[in-house]
Amino acid sequence: MIISNWNLVASNPKTMMALSTVKQMISIFLFNFVLIYSFGVSQTNTELQHLKYVEHLDQGIMLMFQGNTPKALDELEKALEIESNHYEVHHYLSMAYEEDRRWNSVVLATTKSLELKSDNIEALYSRGKALFNLGKWEEASKTLKKAVDYAPKHARALKTLGKAQIQRRQFVEASSTLTKASKLNPLSTITWYHLGMANLNQGNYKEAIPHFEKSIQLAPTFPQSHHGLGTAYLRIGEREKGQVEMLQFQQLQKDATEHERLSRLTQAEPENIEALDELAKLSMKRENYPLAVKTFQRCIQLDPRNISHYLGLSRAFMNLGHPIPSRDTLLHAIKLSPNQSILYNTLGSAYVMMGDISKAIQSFQKAVGQAPEIPFYHLNLARVYEKAGNIKRANEHYQAYESLIEQPPQ
């Protein structure tokens, strides 16, 4: 039936023409449909891919902000697998690598970032710092000079450039660079130390002294500054002062060596509680508070009923300017051992740091109530009463403090 109808149609030229036009129209329609559909699909795929990229990047930055570098790295790498043409992502990734001191990876990531945006000051700085840490002084200098050309007030770039110039024995240039860095950031121990070294290497011993002194003032436990100062004194003939500094250097170096030994020991024996405890205490002495926090936390994991670990952890937090975790640590310790006056006294200090004077008063009162014979509890309480404007109570506790320190020890 169909065949016979077709024969009928095929025999009529007008019908054939019309059919041909319809066929053409169908073809065009089908072609366009396929084209539009496939374009639509590819557009949707592109959008979906971009959405995935955005979300990995968002998570990566979020995790970096929260200090979770390993997970941040994972997210940023996933983002880059999807879209690799964004300069900022390469640099965020390099910042995460830097946290792990993966300097070669930092160089690679910043090189890519700079290919996409050559005047990216922070990527130039990161690259220069990584090259410096890889011992590539000349290449580091070139990169850091570029950063400083773009941003002459970039103190970190100036500091690292100065250090690279010292390594290249360009002491005059280093002095000039580090002087600029020290003016921009007078609180950088390392800048003052290297400025001292630049002067020392030029034979400017007297000029080197105030720089080393400034470095020591900012970080008294940094051994190299004492060595530099001692050397400068000895060179100008101030033998006694030089020897004092050298002794100080030796003691600090000894601590550093002990620190190194304990670090290795605790790595080899991660459950050696005695070594961990010593390492935590030594870290406090050397003002390495981040390590002290980490180590005290490990001690608490292994020995959760030892109050001294909590006390150490809370003090380390406070030295880092974090009174809130310090308070939380102490509150936990107080639950475990409610009759330790020192815990209340330290808690009072945490509240002072948080600006919560009424709670500070309560805590110091508790410390005084538990151990009224300890003079400095009264002193702390007097100070917070004074701060709260209660002069009468402040005077009472100042008097208690004075009378206790006048008493001969029992």
């Binding site: 959008e47 959405l51 955005v54 979300e55 990047l57 968002d58 930055i61 979020m62 902000f65 929260q66 964004h86 900022e88 640099h91 965020y92 990216n120 000051i121 922070e122 990527a123 773009y150 941003a151 007030k153 970039h154 103190a155 970190r156 003016k183 921009l184 950031n185 007078p186 609180l187 300017g321 974090h322 809130i324 308070r327 740091m353 948080m354 600006g355 919560d356």
Partner: protein, 260 residues
């Protein structure tokens, strides 16, 4: 630019019905004067604390909301915020403008934020203006004072918005001395300034405008992803200005013309 996929008239009428947070009605005037910027006890880039004089200025009482930003996006057809399909309380644009009209707009770059402020007749606050509006004349550690209280949408805040952004003005007890809301937590806020970690050592003490050059812009205030320490009035952070992330928004500022 992604085309709007929801019904405009419906959205517009719904948004118009919730105009309680319109920018023009909610600018706070902060009189000219001195305040202390930075802190000597906290992170290095906040040092040294120093006295700064600012002319009179106005600042948004609230972070710019999805609803407000939607009006801008509709009017200009540009600067669409980024989409975050998996971030709770954010979602896709412009649908989220309907779903969360009073949430702060996020996923906007510094350039998007600047374009919005120009369109709205203002500008982004400088870092100094932001800090004065947050810390007030008595150097508050947090906008509400120095006591540690959960008056902000922060990480682990146990406030009903533990893992998501909250509507603006949801924490009235957390308002600053001048009455600005959410200056701690909820979302980080773009400021006008370039970031430099040592800027406070060479800054001008009168109407400082930040370094002349940089790669990063300063963001302030912390957000729902941060612990409360990072939401203090002096805490500084930096981000590439092209970054569009789910926890950074902004608020409006305006100069006030007067002889001072």
């Amino acid at each position: 630019m992604k085309k709007p996929i929801i019904c405009f008239p419906l959205l517009v009428s719904l948004l118009a019905a919730t105009n309680a947070f319109s920018a023009s009605q909610n600018m706070i005037r902060i009189s000219a004067g001195w305040f202390t910027m930075g802190s000597d006890n906290r992170a290095t880039d906040q040092k040294p604390s120093h006295r700064v004089y600012l002319n009179t200025f106005e600042i948004g009482k609230y972070e710019v909301t999805n609803q407000e930003y939607y009006e801008f996006w509709k009017a200009t057809g540009t600067h669409a915020p980024e989409n975050f399909s998996t971030v709770h309380g954010v979602g896709l644009w412009p649908d989220r403008a309907l779903e969360y009209p009073l949430h702060p707009v996020v996923g906007v770059s510094w350039y998007d934020a600047t374009a919005y402020t120009k369109w709205a007749g203002g500008r982004l606050p400088t870092e100094a203006e932001w800090e004065k509006a947050a810390a007030g004349p008595t150097d508050r550690l947090w906008p509400w004072g120095n006591a540690l209280k959960a008056y902000a949408n922060v990480w682990n805040g146990s406030d009903g918005y533990d893992d998501m952004v909250a509507p603006v003005g949801h924490y009235p007890k957390g308002k600053s001395y001048y009455g600005a809301m959410d200056m701690a937590g909820n979302v980080w806020e773009w400021t006008a300034d370039w970031y430099s970690d040592v800027y406070y050592t060479y800054t001008s003490n009168k109407n400082p405008k930040g370094p002349e050059i940089g790669s990063w812009r300063v963001i302030r205030g912390g957000s729902w992803i941060d612990n409360i320490n990072r939401c203090s009035t002096t805490f500084r952070l930096q981000l590439y200005p092209i970054s569009r992330v789910s926890f950074v928004g902004f608020r409006l500022a305006q100069s006030v013309d007067s002889v001072e």
